[in-house]
């Protein structure tokens, strides 16, 4: 199918883009990589009056590590470029692994990191990775610029803290502790598909003691937003990440996750899958510590 008609504009500054989004006369929508939006236009599930293409705004094309050691990814940075960046691969390998699980290279060549986060499909990889890595989101609109945490950013399926007249300009990943290991695991039917359920794990090792000092555990595909399970994290902290500790942690997953049934899987299947993924992910993360 073909999109219904709309106007298209490609501003060259964030200010111009925000003015276009704030125009009350016409319903405007941001287009970045278009890898989620254009299928929706083709199927006429979305009918915006104006598309605001933000990929020609030079300041949004930056990916860099700032003076405090934070990784900052601008809204026009494509997924393939981010995943290939040496600084990202070196300092935030979980993020690279998450990106590499998005669809296929042909999609990642166009899709942006921020576009996936702003779109917020509950089965998508990047929202889960962003919560696991404690990312912050820089949002600019007619009322100015604000920064929100990952906890506050994801609101519901296809819904985030970004209002219709605002732009997610940048996502910021803080530096990780030195003694940490990570893993990103998914249960998918086919390579490249959206996952039925997935997990991102970051474990920090206490220097000297060989026990888990901090843990972050986040699931995708288990609710309308990425789910951080504090009970699971608590079960891991202080343990040796061995068999017994992992069994206990898996138990907290079975008790703590409340996914729903859908066409792809029953809630029970998701819960069990999640518990298995957790054990596998923690084992990998601990080996990497």
């Amino acid at each position: 199918m073909k999109p219904s008609s709309f106007d298209y504009t490609a501003p060259s500054t964030v200010g111009e883009a925000v003015a276009l989004l704030a125009d009350e006369e016409r319903e405007a929508k941001v287009v970045a990589g278009g890898q989620s939006l254009i299928p929706m236009l083709n199927m006429r599930l979305a009918r915006p009056e104006v598309l605001v293409d933000i990929t020609r705004i030079p300041e949004l094309g930056r990916l860099h590590v700032d003076a405090e050691g934070n990784l900052r990814i601008g809204a026009a940075v494509r997924q393939a470029r981010a995943a290939a960046d040496p600084a990202l691969r070196d300092g935030w390998p979980l993020l690279a692994a998450a990106i590499e699980r998005i669809g296929h290279p042909q999609i990642r060549n166009r899709g942006t990191v921020c576009g996936s986060l702003a779109h917020h499909d509950p089965a998508a990889e990047l929202p889960t990775a962003a919560l696991a890595l404690d990312a912050r989101f820089v949002i600019t609109g007619p009322r100015g610029t604000r920064t929100v945490t990952a906890e506050d950013f994801f609101v519901a399926t296809f819904s985030t803290a970004v209002e219709a007249d605002e732009l997610l300009t940048e996502v910021v990943f803080p530096p990780l502790p030195a003694d940490h290991g990570w893993a990103f695991e998914e249960l998918t039917r086919r390579h490249g598909d959206f996952a039925t359920v997935g997990v991102a794990v970051v474990l920090e090792r206490s220097p000297g003691t060989g026990t888990v000092r901090t843990a972050r555990v986040v699931f995708s595909g288990a609710a309308p937003v990425p789910v951080r399970l504090v009970a699971t994290e608590n079960a891991l902290v202080g343990s040796d990440a061995g068999g017994q500790a992992l069994a206990a942690a898996a138990g907290t997953v079975l008790a703590g996750l409340a996914p729903s049934d859908d066409i792809h899987a029953t809630a029970e299947y998701r819960r069990e899958g999640a518990a298995h993924l957790l054990v596998r992910a923690c084992t990998t993360a601990w080996e990497r510590c």
Binding site: S5, F6, D7, P39, M43, P105, N109
Partner: protein, 178 residues
């Protein structure tokens, strides 16, 4: 009675539902400069096929799943059904027609698909060929996982993927040595 000469039908540009807009775009397609007026909503796939007559780029699903419409935009394989023509201002596009124009010999990728019988009906083939062309243009040889990842972006309804994989491996051997 002399047969009456039929009056020609007057073709006209259909009125556009508002709001819309036309844009002038300039880009390069298969090494040749192109300037055109395009409506905002025109997909790159339709621009190539209907406006430029380059029908080698096939359209299957029109929502990014099948890969038949894949071309190289600035040397990267991408879906033309998920890009607006207007977004391609200033880019360099290569389609399957650009690989061996006129009487030029087939590229090693095309030759490998030919020799390994990497097709049956050929509908999916232009997409596979363009993605494989990009693989052979990387600076390093892609590993098995990268090849699988790239090919998983294409659906073939005829062949099973064995011969396609053989063709891709042959093309990579040719380019990078065995």
């Amino acid at each position: 009675m002399t047969p009456s000469v039929p009056t020609p039908l007057a073709a006209r540009t259909p009125p556009l539902a508002e709001p819309s807009a036309w844009h002038e775009i300039s880009l390069t397609v298969n090494g040749r400069p192109v300037t055109a007026q395009v409506e905002s909503r025109l997909l790159l796939s339709d621009f190539l096929r209907d406006r430029l007559g380059l029908t080698g780029t096939h359209v299957g699903c029109e929502h990014g799943v099948c890969g038949a419409c894949t071309v190289l935009v600035d040397d990267e394989p991408v879906r033309t059904c998920l890009i607006l023509a207007v977004q391609c201002r200033g880019t360099e596009i290569r389609t399957v027609e650009g690989l061996a124009p006129g009487d030029a010999p087939l590229t090693s990728v095309q030759q490998a698909f030919h020799e390994c019988h990497g097709m049956q009906c050929g509908f999916c083939t232009p997409g596979f060929v363009m993605t494989t062309t990009a693989l052979t243009e990387q600076s390093d040889r892609p590993d098995g996982e990268q090849v699988a990842d790239a090919l998983s972006g294409h659906l073939c309804r005829c062949t099973g993927y064995r011969n396609i994989r053989r063709a891709v491996c042959r093309a990579l051997d040719e380019r990078f040595g065995e």
